[in-house]
């Protein structure tokens, strides 16, 4: 029922969304933590910077990323100097783009959750002999669970639907950088509404089930109220 290139796009999309979400969580968590805990004056500046990728239209953000990643851009030159290739039009480039674009959705909920937990449980853990690292993983993170869940949901879903950035820095190359969202868009553009409906419906149903599972699991193991 699914055309082979749509299937390829689906697989690529899931791969991109999964990897991006993981990268987002890994990168976003320390940023969120720093934002929640620091008393430095620069905090509002960083807070503002984190939200900034959102305000540019995705295609435009993609355009600037293209300039940045391309052979004449700073990162592109660096890559070339290091004996590599520029990252535009590669899967890695897509991941970079998705991560930058979805960062606010990941950082902010986690930051809020860390803040809501506050210092007291961490202090208790410290008096029980837990090092900063230890208490981060055994107290701060589990208590911020709901924030992580929201972050992962928003990050994953946003990457699924992500489009402008990916289109721009990916170049819409089937099998390499053509993700499902672009495929659907192409079908719509090409007036192939049947396939567009099919793919959209499938994507919606799949995402719905996935989100349902996540939320259902979350309900089964309710996050306690602090």
């Amino acid at each position: 029922m699914l055309a082979p290139e749509d299937l390829t796009a689906l697989v690529l999309t899931l791969k991109l969304a999964t990897i991006s979400t993981l990268v987002l969580l890994v990168l976003g968590t320390p940023v969120a933590w720093w934002l929640a805990m620091t008393r430095r004056r620069v905090r509002p500046v960083v807070d503002a910077l984190v939200s900034l990728p959102l305000v540019l239209p995705p295609t435009v953000l993609g355009f600037y990323l293209l300039l940045f990643l391309g052979p004449d851009g700073p990162l592109g030159r660096l890559m070339i100097a290091a004996g590599g290739r520029p990252l535009a039009f590669t899967f890695t480039g897509l991941v970079i783009g998705s991560v930058i674009y979805s960062l606010p959705f990941v950082v902010q909920p986690i930051r809020d959750a860390f803040m809501a937990t506050g210092h007291a449980p961490l202090e208790a853990a410290a008096t029980l002999g837990a090092s900063p690292r230890d208490r981060f993983f055994t107290v701060a993170v589990p208590l911020a669970r709901r924030g992580f869940l929201t972050a992962a949901t928003l990050g994953f879903a946003h990457t699924l639907g992500e489009f402008g950035v990916v289109l721009m820095i990916g170049g819409n190359i089937p099998g390499r950088t053509q993700v499902l969202s672009i495929a659907i868009y192409n079908h719509v553009e090409a007036l192939d509404y049947g396939r567009a409906h099919l793919l959209s419906g499938g994507l919606l149903a799949f995402s719905f089930l996935l989100l349902l599972a996540v939320h259902f699991l979350n309900r089964r193991f309710p996050v306690v109220r602090v």
């Binding site: 007291a120 449980p121 410290a126 008096t127 002999g129 837990a130």
Partner: protein, 361 residues
């Protein structure tokens, strides 16, 4: 060897010119035994404990536990490297862990070879068996405090900081825990800083006492002195009384009584399973001591001791505290001015002290 706590901390300067709160103490406490920290609400007791634990990064001063320097001008050992147990005033259990996991949290993070305090004992003592599998969010107030105490004990710390650990507990739960806390002192020579509002509790447990007021240590010293000294402090009103070290000298098996020897005589107390020669402490409330000029017969009062008046300290318009020498010990009697006048009490006078009840601590 002693515990040195020198600590200065300014808490946020208040609005409208209110200078805020400042803690400024310089204490030198014996390393063995329990030190009661006493004082009115808001005097800085919790803050003092937080400073000792290293939770107040801005506190300046020195914290030395015996040979170990936790903090001085050059050192600031982070909290998790200070071998301490802390029971917070509001418990602070981890809401994402079960009761058992809360208890294990500290246990797992302490050196196995230092673990002198074992799980089963703590669980039984604190009556936690039925709670182990439960979450911590719907525990009752007292249950929460018991878990917090257990969690702190299980770290087998070098110093125990207890912030009103028993305040939410009923008397019998408290009574069950006292002997255990005493064992920490005797068996493990574990020093304890113990914030409490209940003087009974302090008298029962503490060897030493610090009196805080407005962030300053207005008085500090051995418990027995603090309780009978006329200095600003505690020898007032209903709380006044002496604490005497004593030993078990013999028994009256028929009536389940024990004879306690102390520096100055003997006392009869209920035998609650004492063993010969056991060292105990007794508390003699000033209000439980009455004075007669001649030893009275035909009375239910068993303990009648010859005593000499050392001082008369007016305590209230109606009442006077009488410091008495009983042998080498000092006890207090609280009587009315009217009785004092009627008996013609004056310094140096020989009287008989009738001790209605003796609290075995």
């Amino acid at each position: 060897m002693s515990i040195k706590i020198k600590c200065r901390l300014d808490r946020g300067v208040g609005t409208n010119g209110d200078p805020g709160f400042r803690l400024d103490v310089d204490l030198d406490l014996p390393v063995a035994g329990i030190t009661a920290v006493f004082g009115p609400s808001g005097c800085g007791k919790s803050t003092l404990l937080r400073c000792v634990a290293g939770l107040e990064k801005k506190a300046r001063g020195m914290v030395k536990i015996g040979p170990r320097v936790w903090q001085d001008d050059h050192t600031f050992l982070p909290v998790h490297q200070r071998a301490l147990g802390f029971v917070f005033q509001d418990g602070l259990l981890f809401p994402h862990l079960s009761v058992l996991e809360n208890l294990e949290y500290g246990l797992k993070r302490s050196d196995a070879d230092r673990q002198t305090i074992v799980m089963d004992e703590v669980v039984e003592l604190l009556g936690l068996e039925k709670l182990l599998a439960r979450g911590t969010t719907d525990l009752s107030g007292g249950e929460r405090q018991r878990v917090a105490l257990g969690r702190a004990l299980l770290t087998s710390p070098d110093l125990l900081l207890l912030d009103e650990p028993l305040a939410a507990l009923d008397r019998s739960s408290r009574r069950a825990i006292y002997p255990y806390l005493e064992r920490l002192r005797t068996d493990f020579t574990l020093p304890v800083l113990y914030v409490t509002h209940a003087l009974d509790e302090a008298a029962r447990l503490a060897d030493h006492m610090v009196l805080l007021e407005g962030g300053q240590a207005v008085n500090s010293g051995p418990l027995t002195e603090m309780l009978t000294s006329p200095a600003p402090g505690l020898a007032h009103g209903d709380e006044a009384g002496a604490v005497l070290p004593a030993w078990v000298a013999g028994f009256d098996r028929e009536f389940h009584l024990a004879r306690l020897g102390f520096e100055g005589g003997e006392l009869l107390v209920a035998d609650t399973g004492l063993v010969p020669d056991q060292e105990v402490r007794v508390r003699i409330h000033a209000r439980d001591v009455s004075l007669t000029l001649e030893p009275a017969g035909g009375s239910s009062i068993l303990n009648i001791l010859p005593a000499r008046v050392l001082a008369l300290i007016p305590d209230s318009p109606a009442r006077v505290l009488v410091r008495l020498a009983v042998g080498d010990s000092v006890i207090l009697a609280a009587i009315t001015h009217r009785s004092a006048t009627a008996l013609g009490l004056e310094v140096g006078r020989d009287v008989h002290a009738q001790i209605k009840s003796v609290a075995l601590l």
